[in-house]
Symmetry: C4
Subunit: 362 residues, 4 copies
């Protein structure tokens, strides 16, 4: 009871610090860390702080409509949960907890190949709320195919193919904290599923990666031959790669640098978003994740052309703070804040958000 | 006596830190906080620090004239008190204390709809010193009309219509500090007066705001039909909205982002000022508030075209430090500093301050 | 003896912190403080840090010549001591201590109207080393004339007329520290000499300054009629004012913002230097002070066209650290560092330093 | 054993802090310090952090080839050890320890004139791994010639001629820490070898440097007449000096500011690299050192045209942490990280790294 009252009072400013006290240090290092010196992790956040928004006064904003269609499914808001692994390490509620909260708030969520709960268990609690299945390429392509077939059977509405992880980034904070992305951390989707390779291995004069690192754009075509689900390509950071993804039939492009966990030195996603939006035009939906924390951030990303904004670490903070209840509280606060900033910016629906909302579209 | 001597010695650099020790924590959170991550709160201040001023030597500056007309009423200086609510929470002297200090120094002050003292009590102590009444749109328009009629009867010289608050910004610092802008804080202008709505409320698939959020620019025309007082529109942050305000008969435009308390991500007011000044031309007076602290700041804002500069938090700091006496000391110091920087910049009167005073007009 | 050995080991990086422990807090506040929020004080320093220098390799730099002519008098280096008041407050050696060190190192020094020692006592120890007398305009012009006549009699080689001080800047740090620039601090040049006015005084509807604040550029002509000494005008921060000074017969222009102690918000002197150099051409010598600390700073300022660089606070730090011996050690270190950076930049004499030394002349 | 396990777990983020606890304070001051205010030291690092890299997805990166030819000798990676003096002060393994690690990893290393171990002892352990001998010009040219002849006899593959040190920079941190670059620190190459001159000495009206400071570009020709080894010129920071070096027969240009230890205020090496690369074209190999710490840094420098990247302080940190074993661990981690960032950037070999890898080539 006491805890629940506390959750009711929590503001968006407090989830991170409260969460830091509720998880093990090794898990906190996993959640918070980026790769290398974490320059991309910082850049993601700073890119939002560089933009300014233009308030407009005396617009009729008595009714605010946050509903947003993602690949034909309407959800309650233009943000969604980015795929993140191992959520039972953060809180026993795990992905099933996130799914319950997402279902109750009508929020789109995506679930990792490396989820602690099985994709079927997640689907069961999600009911009719749309959900996406994230796929890491597997050394054995059959393992990947089976995952996609299960996702289709469990009525996921899209496959999010991650293309930025032929090998894991060098994540020192995580290593120092003692969180290993290996077989010691249980994966809900079955023992045959492998996390991305940890590092290249020296072999004579060269370094070698696992077989999936040899995949090129044709992998999207092959994936499409195994599923009717639309493909969202995650990890695009240039107009060139966006065009490649479209040419191979992607229906969605997720501009992402993996939360600053892969190539340290990669640009902030928000800085890349405009060139990808221009390259894609009306041929696919464009999403972005990395660094979004508040209602203003979502408004900015939408003004720069994103259909939706993926939320990563903050959902884990909320999960750490209070399991499914924590995530519910977070969704509630973020929706209310987004409705508030929309009202203050003089826009009544997500469809009305365009570049005019920004003072310096950068 | 001891305290009074201390006040005599105080410099402009010290009010904030002294004030922080003299008010309750919840009140301090209310005074200091902004919305969201407080990016706009910081931006307001930083915009002043980015400008540089050009000193001019060997100008005859033996006499310095700070007098400034506001809508036809001459005051002693080009700064004024921005409207701020609930001043009795800061010090028992409340708005009446500020009014006494403003009267003794000939400074224009504006008073909030949500003042702790009644607008009539404020008027009584103000005597012939000009004062403005700030109006928040009320869900029941009749309540607003009555407030304006009372202000006219009490010989206020203008109505400041706030247009940036269809709903309150999300003010986490204030929430965490435990200061609620609700019925628990007494309002001097009567029980029928309501603070702005705290947040949008979910209603089925949309979020709804109170009735006043549906108001558009015609509200200025309606307000003008109820009063002979000139209308100053507060909360303008774009040339477009400034033109709208003029088209509906505003006589003054107050460039303001509500001290960084409404849309977090809104631009610094000083950065917006030039485009508003250009749009308005000679059709109205333009004022600015947000982030001004020192004589140099006032000089900069005037050089960028403002007729006057609204002072917010520093007046509350001064009130916290010493009630009406604290505010008197603050006005005295700010006037002397402004006279000093004018002398050093080689300008003898506020009318002489133009863009040549700036090195990089930005 | 112990102390003397310590001084021998001191590096340029250490004078400031050592000095901070050797003077009274009120004196430290006086030395270190600027006006207002000290934005100009910070800007002076940052302007040097923004420039980069181009090293050149394999130039014959076996002999390095630092000698520099100032108004026809050759000194040992292109830096000089800027005028600073009240040096006996810093160390009993006072200006006479600085003069002994300057004499032993062949360094040009300028001495304030408000020196603790009399200008004659300073002259006596200086012997043939050139020295400048700084003049604050006095309310009674006869007082100023007599000072200049005494300086001429005592064989000073120039008069430095300060033009940026019709009133003192608002120096909060100094006020808080308790250092009053008033009659409580003895002035070596006699009781008739007045420091600049502390603040404008309200008189009815306006603020008034002392009589000298009414002086305009003609004051230079009048000064020239009373002395054969060349006039250096100190406190110029624009091409316009530099041209005025030249038109009235100035032989030197000292680009200065009074060490960030007068108009807070004034530009960094280094940023203004190029426009003044361009405006002045060959008609006068141009000097700069404010923020120079190291050999590299002097190289940069000379590359931007300064004939010489005034050193302020560091000389007081050195005086605080060890009296005349401290200043000697400082001069020695600064000369050696300047010779070193000249060698590394591939220039052999101050005459060889030009814009090519800079990578980005800004 | 315990220590060894620890070394196995160490990440690139930890070497610096671990090292700081394993060496004497005076040695730490020597390793870490720069000249003057260390502005160039900081600039070197910041220049890398300003660049961003473009990840490319779905490139076949299953095999990553880091091999890099330096002046015709193929090594295992595009980074090398920059010359650094006195390595036995850091760890008893000294340069011989670094040489063992470099040999085991196929990494090019360069060794200072001022090495603690003799160049012959270094050569013995290096075996067939290429190594470079760094030469400081000596006051007696015969001493330098003999060093070069010994290096040629010991099968070094190039001479690195340092041209930025006619005198040592003013290194306050080192002085304060008590590390003297004088005869108290043993030099492995024999008692006749001298470190660079510490400071210019006053002689009458000028400052003088030792004889070698009079050398100009012809010194390269003379050096070439004494050895068949190719000459790499170290300390170039402008296109002009690069052209001079080429004109006198240099085969390699090392863009270096001596790790921020010589001219404080010199530009970041990474900022200068592009103009040198353009000036040099295909006439020589261009290398860069200063500030590179991580795999991303190496990728950036190569993308800007460097053939190889010199690593300085991090090698000393690794040596301090664990002697030869520490350096082995460091090389292993840096190679794996470089292979990882290459994979994530979609490049398979160092030859494939070009400007397209950068988002903003600056």
């Amino acid at each position: 009871v006491d805890d629940w009252r506390r959750l009711e009072d929590l503001t968006l400013s407090e989830f991170e610090s409260v969460a830091s006290k509720r998880v093990q240090e090794r898990v906190w290092a996993y959640i918070q860390g980026g790769s290398g010196e974490e320059r991309t992790l910082r850049a993601n956040r700073e890119a939002f702080l560089r933009r300014t928004v233009r308030p407009r006064a005396l617009v009729d904003v008595s009714e605010l409509d946050l509903r947003t269609p993602f690949l034909g499914h309407t959800t309650a808001a233009p943000f969604f949960v980015s795929p993140m692994a191992y959520q039972a390490e953060v809180h026993p509620d795990g992905e099933v907890g996130v799914a319950r909260a997402a279902r109750d708030h009508g929020i789109l969520a995506s679930y990792s190949t490396l989820s602690s709960n099985s994709l079927e268990d997640i689907a069961t609690v999600s009911r009719s709320t749309p959900r996406w299945f994230q796929l890491y390429l597997q050394p054995d392509p059959l393992v990947g195919e089976r995952l996609v077939q299960r996702a289709e059977a469990a009525e996921y509405s899209a496959v999010v193919l991650t293309v930025d992880t032929p090998v894991l980034g060098v994540r020192d904070r995580q290593t120092i904290g003692g969180f290993a992305m290996d077989s010691s951390v249980p994966i809900g989707n079955g023992g045959e599923v492998l996390p991305p390779a940890r590092a290249p291995a020296q072999q004579g004069n060269v370094y070698r990666l696992r077989d999936e690192a040899s995949q090129t754009w044709g992998v999207i075509d092959r994936l499409r031959s195994h599923t009717k689900l639309p493909i969202v390509v995650k990890g695009i950071l240039s107009a060139e790669d966006a065009r490649q993804a479209l040419a191979h039939g992607a229906k969605g492009i997720l501009v992402s640098n993996h939360g600053g966990r892969q190539l340290d030195g990669a640009p902030a996603t928000l800085d890349v978003l405009p060139e990808v939006v221009t390259a894609v035009g009306k041929d696919a939906e464009v999403y972005v994740d990395g660094g979004a924390r508040r209602g203003t951030d979502i408004l900015i990303a939408l003004a720069l052309g994103a259909r939706g904004v993926g939320i990563g670490r903050p959902v884990l903070w909320a999960l750490a703070v209070g399991g499914a209840d924590g995530v519910r509280r977070y969704f509630e606060l973020l929706k209310v804040e987004l409705a508030t900033v929309m009202a203050l910016a003089g826009v009544r629906s997500v469809a009305e958000i365009d570049r005019d909302v920004l003072r310096d579209p950068g």
